[in-house]
Amino acid sequence: MLAELPRKFGWPHEDNPQERLLLDPLPQEDMNRIMLRPMLKAGSGWWLVVALLSAIVLVCFVGAWAYMIRWGMGLAGIRRPVFWGVFIATMVFWIGISHSGTFVSAILRVFNAEYRRPITRAAELMTSFSLICAGMFPFIHLGRVWTVYYMIPMPNQRQLWTNFQSPLAWDLFAITTYLIGSTLYVYLPMIPDLAMARDHTTGWRHTLYKWLSLGWRGVEYEWHYLHMAIKIFAFAIIPVMFSVHTIVSWDFAMSMHIGWHSSIFGPYFVVGAIFSGVSAVITVLLVVRRTMHLEYFLRPEHFDALAKLVLIFSLAWTYFFFNDYLVEWYGGDWVGHQLLLFQARGPVAPLWYAMLLFNIAIPCLTLWNKRIRRSPIALFLITVGINIGMYLERYIIIPGFLHINNMPFDWGNYNPEWPEVSIAFGTLALFILLYTLASKFIPLIPVWEVLEGQLSHTRRRIGRTVVTSVAELE
């Protein structure tokens, strides 16, 4: 029966009203098996991917970083006046990706959006893994990474303290808080699924899941406390999410630099982060669905709903982008004008137009269409394009804006060098590697949440029509 599943539940089959929001319940045991089968069986392809990714991480990331620590920051292409380059742009990019999980999971959970159920876990894992990648860049970009403990507030014989006025210090606390919070938030809803995995495995996996599931038995009061804890965390993580990217934007907005010194940067960055994050969720879910054969759980309507979110955030991002640009233009400052001209005509102009194409033109023109929203290939291409576009946005804002400053004698040109590109690429490989490893250890679909959704749905007849209704669980 399992062999038939992909054919039976592959898309498109939206005509069938039974399919909507997983209203074709399977026995719980079958759902468990759909989830566990790809986890327990590691094919040669998986090993090949893991080996390849590990090699890339080792050479491109660890190797290049060690090389740079040995010889100095000068191996990167940064120069006066462009003191920040690819490293900070990549850090902001990864922090942006990390917003996906919390947004898709926490906000949709708080608002009881039913379509969130099968996608929360995969999205939350993205948050933790991309934060691991992002969290390393503040170290990588330091000139003297071996003195990084100076940034941690702790008593020391030098009687020195961290400068709490510095946005970089806030950054450190914000990212750490978010990493811890989001890791707990991904762990809590995972406990019942880990217990499920524990009951279906033997050997070392059984021992592993036994430890991880904290002795979960699934009795009434455990569910009660779990639901309460998840609810508290879902509410608590939302302000943390907003604060993190706002604080990251303050790294720039709090400075005196022309173009950076903008009061709109906080919401602008948050919207951009969610935009790129939700797009990345779609990309990852499409890959997961394809490689792990989870067509039963990840239906076209889920991607449809996520793509609508992407469209909304594309419009919101466009609004902020033009607002930022227009205010600078209207301000009439000569250096500010040069900065705008630099974007449209300078060396970064190709990137700037590519950014507008990927972030505004393509999503706004295509995602209105329901068929495109439900086509995996089109969605894959569009969302990957959006993430390229958002990376370009960070690249233009960080090293790009630094080209132009108040001292026209010292306008400089920045070109990335291979160590920084290699390290940035290495973190991409690290992210995929972490996700690939996690796919064998962590149930990527919260089976119990899907089951809960199915149980809470009823089909009622009102007059002549049959409608789906959702019962509130609490």
Binding site: G74, R80, F83, L142, G143, M151, L160, G412
Partner: protein
């Protein structure tokens, strides 16, 4: 903080009408402060490590074209933009001398201060410093040789400020004009650069600062620089 005025108030006056852009100050600064030379490749990348540089610009259109220049160094702002952004207090305001100091051994190399300096006065040690023969024989023992990964900038020759204060204390008298002469001022053939202490009522710096020709660089940013430029009328080079 501009309000809390205690200690010395070091102020540098640069007379642009006197300056001939001979670059002697740039060389003297390199020699005095152990500033490494980085070589032509790095210079091409824009990584010249001058603490003090002469910026040249053109005024007018072709037939009536004039070369103008201005020596730019750390302006020792009283409201320095580099200070609040440093996460470890490596860039900080000295309440004793009222200048902006850079603590090399505290610096972790975030380079945020460099981004935030509107005068681009800060330079970074991209690699370990390299002093080709015979420059390695003339390093100044009173100044740290900076290692890779830290920011640095003009200090108003703080080692000479300390040496001057030390000499005055040894002789049991207050600091006065002439006790502290930074390397750039010492070599300036036209005496265009003068360092003085505003806290000293008898210092000749007061009359320069009150001059009608006085202005500060990027004054509208409100950084309150401690470097005052003098410029009036036509310059003698055209």
């Amino acid at each position: 903080m501009a309000e809390a005025k205690q200690g010395n108030r070091w102020t540098m006056v640069i007379d642009l009408d006197k300056c001939t852009a001979c670059q002697a100050c740039v060389i003297a600064c390199h020699a005095e402060n152990n500033v490494p030379t980085v070589g032509p490749e790095q210079i091409n990348m824009g990584r010249a490590q001058h603490w003090l540089r002469i910026e040249r610009y053109w005024q007018g259109e072709y037939p009536d074209l004039r070369a103008r220049y201005i020596p730019v160094l750390c302006q020792q702002c009283q409201h320095a933009p580099c200070e609040p952004v440093c996460p470890v207090f490596a860039s900080m305001h000295s309440d004793a001398e009222n200048i902006n100091v850079q603590v090399y051994n505290r610096c972790v190399g975030t380079r945020y201060c460099g981004n935030n300096c509107p005068y681009l006065a800060r330079v970074f040690n991209w690699f370990d410093p390299y002093f080709p023969e015979p420059l390695n024989e003339q390093l100044n023992p009173d100044v740290t040789v900076r290692y890779r990964g830290v920011m640095e900038k003009c200090t108003f020759c703080i080692q000479r400020i300390h040496a001057g204060a030390d000499r005055a204390a040894l002789e049991g008298r207050p600091l006065r004009d002439g006790d502290v002469v930074p390397a750039c001022a010492q070599v300036c053939p036209t005496d265009a650069i003068v360092l003085g202490n505003l806290a000293d009522e008898h210092s000749r710096i007061h009359e320069f600062v009150k001059s009608k020709r006085a202005f500060a660089l990027l004054e509208d940013l409100g950084t309150e620089p401690a470097v005052i430029y003098l410029k009036g009328g036509e310059s003698h080079v055209s």
